[in-house]
Each structure stands twice: as structure tokens, then as C-alpha cells.
């Protein structure tokens, strides 16, 4: 087994221990495991390849630099990565003068990943299942979730955009998430 293969075989916790010590090779494995998920989310949020690439690069450098702060009790490495990607994407959206409207599940066919592995096929299936669950939500709840999560808008901004009281928007987010969780049942817990 090569040293890189040994790293690739490590579980998240052991890998993160090495990353914490400043091990670049261990961080490379973290990148390989989570960059696609990060890029997919960034692309969904900023809507362009160049923008998503910048967000991904900034996010991973930020993850590397804050490696000492990763706390496994607060969630998986995947969620840590996606949280930082999302924050960077929101920063990018706020920096740009025109914020793109949140597209509905858009994707550019040219960069869409082919299923190279079984894991990728599973991810694609999972994405379809979540989208099917999202489609069962009342439209106004789904819209509130989309604008908040992918658009990075605050509840006040969403209320203004939709000309709806903030209290109503709050309620839609809460109900929408509850329904989404119920629709997905146990499947949603793996995130």
C-alpha cells in the first residue's frame, strides 16, 4: 500500500487528526472526497462555472486554514465543508452587483459528472430522491427554502422579495423543513 493509499483508507476522524497537524497529503484526501459535493453546491448557488471554481478554491483554502476548528461533535466533515462552501458562495453573491435569481435545479450539461463510480451513481439517485421530496412541498414553502439555502437570503430579504410578512416566511421555512424531513424519513439522516 502506498502512503497515499493508506491515507485514502483512513476514516474521517483519523484523517482529520492528520489534517489538524498540518498534513497536506491528508488534506488532499479530504479535497478528493468532498470537492465534488462542494462544487455542485457552489455551482447551484452562483450559477456559473468560473464563480463556482472561485468559491470552491476560497472555501478549501479557508477549510485548510481553519483546520484546528473542525469539531466532529458538530457534524460530519461533509457538512463542515458544505457549510463553508455555502458561506463563501453567499459572500460571492453579495459581492456581485446583480444577484442571480435562484434557478430551479439548473445544471450545465457540459460539467455534469458522469457516474465514474458506484458512489457517484448513489449520489445521483439520492439527489433525485431529495428533489422528488422537495417537489411534494407546497410551492411557497419550497420557494422559501430555495431562497434561504441556495440564494443565501435572510428571512427579511425574502419577505421583501415576496411581499409577504416576515412571520409568514419564518413559518414557511419551519413547516417546509419539517415536511421535507418527514418525506425523506430515515434517508435524510445520513447527511
Amino acid at each position: 500500500m502506498t502512503p497515499m493509499e493508506a491515507l485514502e483508507a483512513l476514516g474521517e476522524e483519523d484523517l482529520m487528526q492528520l489534517v489538524r497537524t498540518g498534513d497536506a497529503r491528508a488534506f488532499e484526501v479530504v479535497y478528493d472526497r468532498h470537492a465534488s459535493a462542494g462544487y455542485s453546491l457552489a455551482y447551484r448557488m452562483v450559477g456559473s462555472r468560473g464563480g463556482a471554481e472561485d468559491v470552491l478554491q476560497e472555501a478549501f483554502l479557508s477549510l485548510w486554514r481553519s483546520r484546528g476548528r473542525y469539531d466532529p461533535s458538530r457534524g460530519s466533515v461533509r457538512m463542515w465543508v458544505l457549510g463553508v462552501v455555502r458561506n463563501r458562495a453567499i459572500d460571492a453573491l453579495r459581492r456581485s452587483t446583480v444577484r442571480p435569481h435562484v434557478a430551479q435545479g439548473s445544471s450545465d450539461e457540459h460539467v455534469e459528472a458522469a457516474d465514474r463510480t458506484t458512489a457517484e451513481a448513489v449520489r445521483r439517485e439520492d439527489a433525485l430522491a431529495v428533489r422528488a421530496a422537495l417537489a411534494t412541498l407546497p410551492a411557497d414553502q419550497g420557494r422559501a427554502l430555495e431562497l434561504a439555502y441556495f440564494g443565501g437570503f435572510t428571512q427579511t430579504e425574502i419577505a421583501q422579495m415576496l411581499d409577504t410578512p416576515v412571520g409568514t416566511i419564518k413559518g414557511r421555512m419551519r413547516l417546509g423543513l419539517r415536511k421535507l424531513r418527514d418525506e425523506l424519513g430515515g434517508a435524510a439522516v445520513t447527511g
Binding site: 498540518g22 479535497y31 427554502l145 428571512q155 419564518k170 421555512m173 419539517r178 447527511g191
Partner: protein, 239 residues
């Protein structure tokens, strides 16, 4: 289940909270409420998987390989600086954790073979650094220091600057470390240094770093200045 007295006011905010859609002041208010309200704390935990599911709903895409190359090139540069720091600090201080908070003033002899050090006088956190610190990116002025890479390594509120490829200042000048706080001119420190002959440099930033937003390095006359006489060569912005 324990429910806070102000529960009715906050009960609907759980969804917006896990979606990070609350305004900062409302977020702070809700977090204070969460401390006292088990009902809301449980609901927040119950809603998190739904937020995780949103992240999984996107079409899977592969990022181009050059992003990986750019990220890893920078990570490797910074990892070298972290490794150098760990090696230098760990060697004499291993197993002396109880003295981590001890600060010592130290004068490094300039006569070390092959090492050009002009009077590095400063307080050094000798027992503070572990290898699991954070790294802060350092902006380098390309005009004054072309080809220089630098990082600042943070541990327990102490910071050390590390650089590679830092030019030797002209005769009679040294690099000086400054602390930048908002609305105040940079505060001079006693940390003065010059790079070694191979262009590497290390400077411990005298702490504490409370309220410090930036650590700056300028070229100054030997002995240091009370206010910066030139634009900074290095700027590290603290998170």
C-alpha cells in the same frame, strides 16, 4: 420538557435559524433562547437533517482539475511553513505543556553559522505552539517582496509569522512587526527580524492578540520605529 418563558416569541424561528436566514441580532437572541429552551433545541436538531438533504439535492458535478492544483499548491506552501514551525518549536519544548502560558524575552545570537540575524529582540511564546494550529493567509506586497510566501500560524492566541523567499532588507534596515486594531494607528512591537541567508524567516508576534485585526510587517531602520515609515510588506488579517 423545559420550555423557556419566551418560547412563544421564538418557536417559529427554528427553521430560519438552521437555514442561517436570521438577521445577526435575531440570531443572537434566538441562540440565547436556545440555551434555556429544550423544546427549541430539540427541534433545531430535528430540522438539521432536512438542511443537509437540501445540500444533497444538487446535480453532482466535477470541479476542473486546475482548481485542485491551485488549492494544493497553496496548501503545500503553507504546510511547509507549519512543518518548519512545528519542528523548531517542538524540539526543545516537548512535554512541557504546563509552561505553555509562560512568555520569555529572548535574544538570539547573530553568530549562528550561515544565519544572518540582526538583533532579534522580542518576547517569544516558547511553549505555546502545537502543530494543530490554524493558519492565516498573509498578503505579500509583490513590489517589495516578489516571490515571497508567508503564513501566520495561530495557537492559543499566540501567533508566529513564517516566510519563504523574503528579501534581505537593505543595509541598516530590518523588518518590524506591528499590531493593527480598528481606528488606531498600527502599534509597534519589539519583534524585529531579518531573514536567514536562504530567505526563510520566523517572527513570534508579541501577544496578547485581543482585538488585533491585522498583523503587519514593514521595513524599518535598525532598532525599529514608533510608527511605520513604509507600506507593509506583509499583512495577515486575523479571522
Amino acid at each position: 420538557m423545559r420550555q423557556a418563558a419566551d418560547h412563544a416569541r421564538w418557536a417559529d424561528a427554528t427553521g430560519a435559524y438552521v437555514l442561517a436566514a436570521l438577521e445577526p441580532d435575531e440570531r443572537a437572541g434566538f441562540e440565547a433562547h436556545l440555551q434555556a429552551c429544550e423544546t427549541c433545541a430539540q427541534e433545531v436538531e430535528a430540522l438539521r437533517p432536512a438542511v443537509a438533504a437540501l445540500s444533497r439535492s444538487v446535480t453532482p458535478l466535477h470541479p476542473p482539475a486546475d482548481v485542485r492544483q491551485r488549492v494544493m499548491a497553496e496548501v503545500e506552501r503553507e504546510a511547509r511553513l507549519v512543518t518548519a514551525e512545528t519542528r523548531d518549536v517542538r524540539r526543545p519544548q516537548r512535554g512541557r505543556r504546563s509552561r505553555r502560558s509562560v512568555w520569555r524575552a529572548r535574544v538570539l545570537a547573530p553568530a549562528v553559522a550561515g544565519v544572518l540575524l540582526i538583533g532579534v529582540v522580542g518576547t517569544m511564546a516558547v511553549d505555546t505552539l502545537r502543530s494543530d494550529g490554524q493558519t492565516v493567509a498573509v498578503e505579500v506586497d509583490g513590489q517589495q517582496a516578489p516571490g515571497t510566501h508567508a503564513a501566520m500560524i495561530l495557537e492559543d492566541g499566540h501567533a508566529t509569522l513564517r516566510a519563504e523567499g523574503l528579501p534581505t532588507p537593505p543595509d541598516g534596515r530590518v523588518y518590524q512587526v506591528w499590531l493593527g486594531r480598528s481606528d488606531r494607528p498600527p502599534e509597534p512591537t519589539s519583534a524585529l527580524f531579518v531573514p536567514r541567508a536562504d530567505g526563510t524567516a520566523r517572527a513570534t508576534v508579541p501577544g496578547p492578540l485581543d482585538a488585533v485585526q491585522q498583523v503587519l510587517v514593514t521595513q524599518e531602520p535598525r532598532g525599529g520605529s514608533r510608527s511605520p515609515s513604509r507600506a507593509p510588506v506583509l499583512v495577515a488579517s486575523l479571522p
